[in-house]
Amino acid sequence: MTGGLVLFALAAGLAIAFALAMIVETSPVRSVLSLVVTFFGITVLAILLAAPFIAAIIMIVYAGAILVLFLFVIMLLNLNEEAREKDARPVQRVLGLVAVLALGGLLLGLTLRAGAPPVAPSAAAAKIPSPDEIPLIGRLLFSDYLFAFEAVAVLLLAAAVGALILSKRRMD
């Protein structure tokens, strides 16, 4: 269990540190890369939760596809370092701080009230070959959650078509 705890601390620390770096960093490319490392940390957390499928999907979809596209756009547009303006938006800054504190307080309060989480059964952790969960996920998607699954698929298709049309219109 302690090994898992050390890994958790490492991965969580990595994720938080690089999430901060993502916001603070002025160079857009480094900012995107920090986000990649954050996703890597989250992947490790997912594996610790015995959800390797989720971990792989985070890595493939977010780190492997979406962020690479971000990187492409930034490199092709040749975006340079942000010009540091002297607090151009003071109101938003204060509002942002209030929102962060409120959300953080809410999370902290809920976590404290929930008490100590039940310790993961070590028997399940010791069983190295975990049960094959992928067929289960597939079956659930095509039975209980069929409507939601198809609805999301249609939504994605509509978004893709919309993106195509928008980019075409600008080219004409």
Binding site: V29, R30, L33, V36, P52, F53, A55, A56, I57, M59, I60, A63, G64, A65, V68, L71, F72, M75, L76, A126, I128, P129, S130, D132, E133, I134
Partner: protein, 343 residues
């Protein structure tokens, strides 16, 4: 010895074995094989001065790379310029974790499966690692602050992303027939039935072509096309950082060949032979590496035989030919499996 300790020891032993074969035995000799093969194909001797048949040329080259000055150009992004080769090399060396390189060996009363991590998400792990490797290419190109590097990096990442799709879809068909995402299950299915390269010939061809593109090898080596881009993304690299690019190219080639062997050429199995006992296990490892080496020689043979594609041809081949083919292949295979009913 408790189960956990045994498991850990076995894993360490397996990692040591795979990396020993890859880094010590295959990598240096592949460079030799490639250059001698090039000589053979182009009717010239190739390296033949250092050691018998020029066999120690690779050792000399590695020593040279260690000893040379590591030049970092002035206007590069120092941090990213340094980590890019490592980002490229790590996925190349870790793909092997899910590839079964032998049947199984009985040790101390337990049957040790000859695969480092027989995880349920096998193929997804490989795809995730490939997509991380893309960052190495993009960053090497961008951090070098050189237009040729940037073009090479963008080209190669666009190429890797495009061909990853066809590669994944072709591979999925083999997992559909096997009924599991474990590469070891695909090998087991092939042992019980037929090597996948026969019933899934279309998928096999798509996968092999995509593997050539994924590893940036001729005829798809546009990222480093020396006629137009100097050397592409590794133009600004020297000494051992360049050596890391060199190593990752060959490590990627070994990994891609091993995937081809595992998914389509029966993995460690031979027809009409069952491997049992310790010697059977050892023999299955030998069979696996022999097959991988055979596929690698095809990579080398193609490199010195075919000319390079044009970039738009490469993209239209990927999107307009390979992708539809792999989708059709997947549909056909899924249809056949569905008709047969659950196994």
């Amino acid at each position: 010895m408790s189960g956990m300790t045994f498991f850990l020891l076995a894993a360490v032993a397996k990692i040591a074995l795979v990396w020993a074969v890859m880094l010590a035995a295959l990598l240096p000799n592949l460079v030799w094989m490639e250059r001698r093969g090039a000589g053979l194909i182009q009717d010239r001797p190739g390296p033949n001065r250092v050691g018998p048949l020029g066999l120690f040329q690779a050792v000399a080259d590695v020593l040279k790379m260690f000893l040379k000055e590591d030049v970092t150009p002035l206007y590069v992004d120092k941090l990213l310029h340094t980590v890019a080769p490592a980002i490229l090399l790590v996925p190349a060396l870790t793909t092997f974790a899910v590839i079964p390189f032998g049947s199984s060996i009985p040790v101390a009363g337990r049957d040790v499966k000859l695969v480092i991590a027989d995880v349920n998400i096998g193929i997804l792990y490989v795809l995730a690692l490939t997509s991380v490797g893309v960052y190495g290419l993009v960053l090497a190109g961008w951090a070098s602050n050189n237009k040729y590097s940037l073009l090479g990096g963008l080209r190669s990442s666009a190429q890797v992303i495009s061909y990853e799709l066809s590669m994944g879809l072709a591979a999925i068909a083999t997992f559909v027939t096997a009924g599991s995402l474990k590469p070891s299950a695909v090998v087991d299915w092939q042992v019980a039935n037929l090597w996948n390269c026969v019933p899934q010939f279309v998928g096999f061809v798509v996968f092999v072509v995509a593997a050539f593109a994924e590893t940036n090898r001729v005829p798809f080596d546009l990222p480093e096309a020396e006629a137009e881009l100097v050397a592409g993304y590794h133009t600004e690299y020297s000494a051992f950082k360049f050596g890391m690019f060199f190593m990752s190219e060959y490590a990627n080639m070994i990994a891609a060949s091993a995937m081809i062997v595992t998914l389509y050429l029966g993995g460690w199995a031979l027809p009409f032979v069952t491997f049992t006992g310790v010697w059977g296990g050892v023999l299955s490892i030998v069979v696996f590496w022999a097959k991988t080496l055979a596929v690698i020689s095809v990579f080398i043979w193609v490199r010195w035989t075919l000319p390079r594609f044009r970039y738009d041809q490469l993209m239209s081949l990927g999107w307009k030919v390979l992708l539809p083919l792999s989708v059709l292949n997947l549909l056909a295979v899924a249809w056949v499996v569905a008709m047969k009913g659950p196994a």
